[in-house]
């Protein structure tokens, strides 16, 4: 039995163990679930070490010691500025020692500060300003189309986007009572949200069936290997 056959059998048996949950919870499912969590954690740690810490930190601090592993380190001079991330990384591990665990907050503060700062600007530009800009620039009547049917479809599409945004915003505006025309627009906003949720659910169903197809294809190749 060669190595690929062993891989195929392990994969197939673990798939069946996970599928067994569809009947009811059982020890085989629990075993496969725990194995997955353990293997995933180890895999991510090893990848992080060899793909990032070794080439982008250790090889830059001590290139001579790593030139047999990292070709790019050959002939390079140590870059001492990388001592800063090394220290920040090490003090992050002080969380494992309760008496000095508070040290790790410095690294956490750096991580959170950097992430919050960079995300804030990017989200503000990409998810807010550009979206508002696009909605405001949307023509209510299509400006170009190949034929009249396409023109009608594009225009209706633009009106739905425009009306949907307005009604959706009105639904989330709570400083005025939702009565009269304002209330009707708010109720239309609920419909817009429901349609969006329905579309998301439909897509989710498609995603789950796709994964089932992938697993059944794999089980098919496993069955074909011994018949």
């Amino acid at each position: 039995m060669d190595w690929s056959t062993v891989q195929l059998w392990v994969g197939a048996l673990l798939t069946l163990m996970i599928f067994s949950f569809l009947y009811k919870d059982n020890p085989f499912y629990k075993f496969a679930e725990h194995l997955f969590v353990g293997v995933s954690a180890a895999y991510w740690m090893v990848q992080g070490f060899w793909q990032q810490i070794v080439p982008n930190l250790l090889a830059k601090l001590a290139p001579g010691s790593f030139e047999n592993i990292i070709e790019a380190a050959r002939g390079q001079q140590p870059e001492l500025v990388y001592i800063i991330p090394l220290i920040l990384g090490l003090i992050l591990l002080t969380r494992l020692i309760p008496s000095i665990a508070w040290f790790s907050r410095w690294s956490m503060a750096f991580i959170i500060g950097y992430t919050a700062g960079s995300n804030l600007t990017r989200y503000l530009v990409s998810d807010f300003i550009k979206q508002v800009e696009k909605t405001l620039a949307l023509p209510l009547v299509a400006t170009h189309a190949d034929n009249w049917l396409q023109w009608i479809m594009y225009s209706v599409s633009n009106l739905v986007v425009f009306g949907g945004v307005i009604c959706g915003l009105i639904y989330f505006y709570f400083s005025k009572e939702h009565t009269g025309a304002f209330g009707r627009a708010s109720r239309a906003g609920i419909w817009v949200l429901m349609v969006a949720f329905g579309a998301s659910f439909g897509y989710t169903v498609m995603a789950r069936i796709s994964l089932l197809i992938g697993r059944l294809e794999f089980l098919g190749s496993w069955i074909r290997s011994f018949i």
């Binding site: 009947y23 990848q47 380190a73 990409s126 169903v205 995603a207 994964l211 294809e217």
Partner: protein, 289 residues
């Protein structure tokens, strides 16, 4: 107990079984589903197709084995398309689970499908780096600071970027002509739009799992050139590819073949939704009487 009441109390395991049967039988037939490409997919295809030979396309495989059935057909179709147009293909990942997927892409698509292409001159494996969107952001100012060397592939050892012909003109992300992200979560295509496409103006397109697709639609068409939403999106791209490159044959129709069981399963689910509602309203009507 009438039929409709029995239907309302049906053990969900019967539904699981029926779904399994509805997927298995069409899958055994291995028949491609008829698919009509939508404008959002056609735009992505046209944008990549319009790139002149020698253009640099960065393909980032940001997903894991759990979504391979959806994401692999997208990645493979875009790689086939890029190499058939003589584009330079740079493959990377910001997911730790990505490296084996890159190896699989090389083994199953590039090497057997494009024997005339050379590693390091036509396609390159940049491997995985941690850092999520922070990594993408740093690539906009200095690509080589993060990628000091490639990862190599098969018997080809890793080399410093200075020795790789394909890397001679790459300094920042702006040096790429197109970024194609294939993702299944965070970080993924959304982060490529936010942290690479929007700040640098480099065109971004790609594909995501169906679960994530509704979150990406608002970026189309100004921030996102085109989008492959789930298996259906992948199948639409494959349909365009096979139409224009019949030489790829059945190997390039993976998603198209998967769409047939997908369609049958959807019909079964829709039937159950309808029957469930009929059962509910019928029972409610009886209670009112």
């Amino acid at each position: 107990m009438g039929f409709l009441e029995a239907l309302g109390r049906l053990d969900r395991r019967w539904i699981f079984l029926l779904i399994a049967v509805s997927v298995t039988i069409p899958l055994l037939l291995q028949r491609p589903a008829p698919v009509k490409p939508s404008p959002i997919v056609r735009n992505l295809y046209t944008a990549i197709d319009a790139l002149p030979p020698g253009s640099k396309l960065l393909l980032s495989l940001d997903y894991g084995p759990s979504t391979v059935p959806e994401n692999d057909p997208m990645a493979h179709a875009i790689a086939r398309h890029a190499l058939s147009k003589d584009l330079k293909l740079y493959v990377m990942t910001i997911w730790a689970t990505g490296p084996p997927l890159i190896t699989n892409l090389f083994e199953t698509v590039i090497v057997p499908g494009f024997p005339g292409k050379t590693y390091g001159e036509d396609y390159l494996n940049l491997g995985y780096k941690v850092g999520n969107q922070g990594l993408i952001q740093s690539l906009t100012s200095d690509f080589r600071n993060q990628y000091t060397q490639d990862v190599g592939w098969g018997d080809i050892a890793a080399r410093p970027v200075g020795q790789i012909p394909m890397m001679s003109t790459i300094r920042t992300i702006k040096d790429f002509d197109f970024i194609a992200g294939i993702g299944s979560g965070q970080p993924g295509l959304k982060e490529w739009v936010q942290f690479a496409g929007d700040p640098t103006g480099t065109p971004v397109g790609g594909g995501v799992t169906a679960v994530e697709a509704p979150l990406l639609y608002p970026y189309y068409p100004t921030q996102l050139v085109g989008l492959l939403g789930g298996l259906a999106g992948a199948a639409e791209y494959e349909a365009l590819l096979v139409e224009n490159h019949p030489e790829f044959g059945e190997a390039a129709q993976v998603a198209l073949i998967r769409m047939f069981p997908q369609t049958v399963a959807h019909l079964v689910i829709v039937s159950f939704v309808l029957l469930g509602n009929i059962s509910y309203f019928a029972q409610r009507g009886r209670r009112r009487k």
